[in-house]
């Protein structure tokens, strides 16, 4: 399958990319191409022009912020680099864990965190982790002005985000997890595509008495967009993470999903069932690691 013809440019800097976006309204950004090119080959997308941002050095790399406390990830960072990053494994292991179960090794070599978030596939893994981490996404518009969007306000609907067509997602900021905080990602993968049928990310912090002082749950795959399970979080907050308390909290997770997706891979009932089961497992594992 061959994509429809298009013009191609590969700017070396972010400013050049933004200038091209301003000049060409029908243009689309190309990062790893592992969502966009399959769609173009199927002619589900036919952009007039591709602006390949993969050569822009400013958009690559993972670093700890100067004061510590947060880790800043360039939008072009491939999933495989998140997976093998010693910095993330030590200080924000949830992101490395979720990245490690994306697709297969070849997909993880090419697909980027920025592309995955901007594409907002309802079955993508990273959105669940970024929601549970309360990550912040930074975008730059054609004027060169930066804008920060909390993950909770980023995912708007099926393949729809808070990004404007003239914006480039530049970096993602995640917190360094403090002592006494554990995290886990649980995924039920589609056997053929390996995308998440449902994926649940959890972050749990325990206080000195062993009660949950922080609970965050991100769910992907179940509905049209990734969501936080706020009611389930509230049900566990302030309590000990016993099996009974975790089960009671997980029973409330599906309320956050709303209208669950239903397709040839899984009915909405099955997706809601998976949501509860995976929430339970993710909470238990996160609490055990806290």
């Amino acid at each position: 399958m061959i994509p429809a013809a298009f013009e191609y440019e590969a700017p070396a800097t972010l400013m050049e990319a933004l200038a091209l976006l301003r000049r060409h309204r029908g243009a689309k950004l190309l990062a790893g191409g592992h969502s966009l090119l399959p769609m173009m080959k199927l002619r589900l997308a036919a952009p007039e022009r591709l602006i390949d941002i993969s050569r822009i050095k400013e958009l690559a790399g993972i670093r700890e912020s100067r004061g510590g406390g947060t880790i800043v990830i360039g939008a072009l960072t491939p999933h495989g680099t998140l997976e093998s990053s010693a910095l993330l494994q030590e200080k924000c292991p949830l992101l490395a864990e979720a990245a490690a179960v994306i697709g297969d090794p070849q997909v993880r070599n090419r697909g980027t965190i920025g592309g995955s978030l901007a594409h907002a596939d309802p079955a993508a893994d990273l959105p669940a982790a970024l929601l549970a981490l309360d990550a912040t996404l930074t975008a730059m518009g054609t004027s060169g002005a930066r804008r920060q969007v909390p993950a909770r306000r980023f995912f708007r609907g099926l393949l729809t985000t808070a990004l404007r067509p003239t914006e480039v997602l530049t970096e993602i900021t995640v917190p360094v997890l403090k002592r006494g905080t554990g995290s886990a990602y649980e995924k039920f993968a589609n056997k053929a595509s390996r995308f998440a049928v449902v994926g649940v990310a959890a972050v749990v912090a325990l206080d000195r008495r062993g009660r949950c002082s922080q609970v965050a749950i991100g769910i992907t795959g179940a509905g049209p967009k990734a969501v936080r399970a706020v009611r389930a979080e509230a049900a566990l907050l302030g309590r000990e993470p016993t099996a009974a308390n975790i089960a009671a909290a997980a029973a409330r997770a599906s309320a956050a999903v709303g209208d669950a997706l239903s397709d040839i891979h899984a009915s909405s009932e099955f997706r809601l069932h998976l949501t509860e089961v995976l929430t339970r497992r993710a909470l238990a594992r996160a609490a055990a690691r806290a």
Binding site: M1, Y8, P38, K41, Q106, V107
Partner: protein, 160 residues
């Protein structure tokens, strides 16, 4: 508009003017005549089109030739050295790691990256490392043995 690309493929510099929509796999097969890289699914799933781009295993049906401009590419044709097959190639031969052979070039290129990253992989690590490659006829047992065979041979040559 066509674009000029320069790539190093199996150690040879190649320069061509290509349409931006030309996929890397068709550049290799149809422009360079390197038909060892196969197109299986053409939908990014099967891994038959796997080649090494800057040493990393990638699905060449999901990369534009223009994206690979300036890169070093290794295909199955570039593995043998001085007329001697690569240990992965002899491994697939010795352990019956193929029947029809359609998936084999992609399997071998993915296994190349795996052994580069983990020289002495466990069976689980081999299966995990080849998760992006589908075989429709051999089954995976002998493919795992073929990779183990190659790992042993490569470690032996390193120790010598």
């Amino acid at each position: 508009m066509n674009r000029q690309v320069t790539l190093r493929v199996n150690g040879v510099t190649q320069q061509h003017s290509v349409e931006p929509r030309l996929l890397l796999v068709y550049y290799l097969r149809e422009v360079l005549g390197l038909t060892g890289t196969h197109v299986g699914c053409d939908t990014s799933q099967c891994g038959a089109c796997t080649v090494l781009l800057e040493g990393q295993a990638v699905k060449s049906c999901t990369i534009l030739a223009v994206q690979a401009d300036g890169a070093e590419i290794t295909t199955i044709e570039g593995l043998a050295r001085d007329g001697k097959l690569h240990p992965l190639q002899t491994g697939f031969w010795e352990e019956h790691g193929l029947q029809c052979g359609f998936c084999t070039p992609g399997m071998i290129m993915a296994a190349c990256q795996l052994l580069e990253r983990i020289p002495d992989p466990s069976e689980a690590q081999i299966r995990h490392g080849l998760a992006g490659n589908l075989c429709r006829c051999t089954g995976y047992h002998n493919i795992v043995r073929a990779v183990q065979h190659a790992a042993r041979k490569l470690l032996e040559t390193k120790q010598r």
